[in-house]
Symmetry: C2
DNA sequence: TTAGGTCGAGCATACGTATGCATTATGCTA
DNA sequence: TAGCATAATGCATACGTATGCTCGACCTAA
């Protein structure tokens, strides 16, 4: 008795058939206004809301898209998350979230997501293994990689224009008189890392320079902190550090200032990537590349909901160099 | 042909009935080992995975719990989110996430969540309106408020021991010689705010003191920043500020240091609440109250999955004062 | 007057799974 | 050898919705 009302209950209350209820509530033109009104009233009175589960079984659509996120603790992703949930909500869809626990890979959690019959899938901040590849091929759930790409164009992907942006960073640093550039990377097995590294390096080369040193920080604050310490434990320290992500840049900055008692930017310059909220806080005032989250998320959803089933595309959205105060300027 | 295999397909392939497949895969003891083996092989070969939607329709359980989060941008919540997804995943459950867009209230997004028949619901960082109350009463979906509570005990809630912790903060500040305490609040219409305010004030009173000034920062960095500026635009500034949440404390700290050129803690002391990651970064080194996220999330899930249907409870988990460097000490 | 058309609504079924009950085969007891 | 318990499986149905098809009533045009 305390159970939820079904469309059958509404039908009975309104003195019509269940199918009429279904049609009336989806505003089918075959049902007369008069009947619709009656049904809507009955539905209201019974507190009826459609059972999405039953609907999904029938229509083969769940109105849910899955988001697999490997790195929630990176402050870049809460923004991503928020943009997704909001955009989806305005489209009448919901977000099924799965985070990949430390020590697990995406492949481990993916199946449980696919069982829920999500209409589409977004995978972000993940290492794209061949196993993952295989699973996605079998299930025909449309998938988009966000902030990651694969070389063979076998999966949809939406990324920032990592290469171009990194070239711009290098060019900026050179222009401002830096010569000994180091890089703090994330995970070398991600496309993001490779692209940013490659763009940065190629532009340095063009100026007759090269990356003088390189460390990895795993895209965490602590990782960036330690990586910076390692860079400065060697013979000749760099005069500028390009951090592949902002969180690591913050860690590096703190390490330099508070552990090594160096001044930023006077003694060392630092550039990040992402433009997380903290980058603009005066304590850090970080020069960085802004990722166009809104646009990236928008494009990814456009791919997922495109009525046509095109072959996989790789979309690059331009980033923007945000110049703040963590780079020493005018040295020329 | 490219469609996903169903249990019927598996049955056909294994030469048994669909019901036998269903039972075999759920390891029903009535099915012989031999048959099970045969069925498992067939399932494997066809790449069969159960359709959770159909299963849900039958069992009335979706294995999803809904999480409604109003304040994802607050760095406290990514941790909450991660703990939830991980704990749930290890229980074989999934998280349906809904974030409340700016300008909307929980009531606006709740119905869309309930339609998905979630097995349980967690609502966090939200203003509990009477309308929300009503909706939750009608639907019998079990609900827990996280980090919020209601006065009449009509909903389950799990919170930090806000009052006790705030008393401890006040007592600590007094002990260290502070006399002019100000408070930067979040939203006065939340239980969290009221409890922390009340605990702080009552302890000050016990020492013959009172809150000398009070501003609101809406639990954002920018809000904390501006609130701090307002506090110091008046005749006599405070010598200590208790910020109801860490994000605001960071904002306040930056405002004091970089805009007002004050020293923390030498000129002003600051205490936060939450212990977000950034609180421990040397740039901030914030004295704060650590919320036991792991425990809170654990308790909330215990309530949701309790087989018995007890009346609503209000659970308070103790916090821990983490003393770092943002409070001037030894002034006595 | 009648054939054909339109409108409004109901009937029946399908989606993929779980499960109560019936059914058959098998072994055991008296 | 009859009778009965037990094991192993199949049959049939239900979950709540959407939708193709059918059907009746009424209207219009020839």
């Amino acid at each position: 008795m305390t159970d939820r009302a079904t469309s059958v209950d509404v039908a009975r209350a309104a003195g019509v058939s269940q199918s009429t209820v279904s049609r009336a509530l989806s505003d089918d033109k075959r049902i007369s206004e008069e009947t619709k009104k009656k049904i809507r009233k009955a539905a209201e009175r019974l507190g009826y809301t459609p059972n999405e589960i039953a609907r999904s079984l029938q229509t083969n659509k769940t109105n849910m898209i899955g988001l697999i996120m490997a790195d929630i603790q990176n402050p870049f992703y809460p923004t991503v998350l928020e943009v997704y949930t909001q955009k989806l909500h305005s489209m009448g869809k919901r977000l099924l979230l799965l985070s990949v626990p430390r020590g697990f890979e995406v492949d481990d959690v993916l199946p449980s997501m696919l069982q829920h019959q999500v209409d589409g899938l977004v995978v972000t901040s993940a290492v794209v293994s061949s196993k993952l590849h295989k699973i996605l091929k079998v299930h025909k759930t449309r998938t988009v990689l966000l902030n990651r790409s694969v070389d063979d164009f076998s999966l949809n992907s939406v990324c920032c224009e990592n290469t171009t942006a990194s070239i711009e960073v290098a060019s900026f640093l050179v222009r401002e008189g830096h010569r000994r550039m180091a890089l703090i990377g994330g995970r070398p097995d991600t496309s993001t890392h490779r692209e940013r590294h490659q763009g940065f390096q190629s532009e340095l080369n063009r100026h007759g320079l090269d990356i003088v040193d390189e460390e990895y920080g795993g895209n965490t604050y602590e990782g960036g902190y330690q990586a910076a310490l390692r860079l400065f434990s060697k013979d000749i320290p760099p005069d500028a550090i390009f951090c592949i992500s902002d969180v690591m840049a913050l860690g590096a900055l703190d390490a330099l200032r508070y552990e090594l008692k160096l001044r930023v930017p006077e003694d060392v310059s630092i550039v990040g990537f992402d433009d997380i909220p903290a980058a603009s806080w005066p304590s850090y005032n970080l020069t960085t590349v802004r990722q166009p989250v809104e646009a990236m998320v928008g494009r990814s959803l456009a791919i997922l909901f495109d009525p046509e089933d095109y072959p996989p595309v790789s979309i690059k959205v331009p980033g923007e160099l945000i110049i703040r105060g963590s780079v020493k300027t005018g040295a020329t």
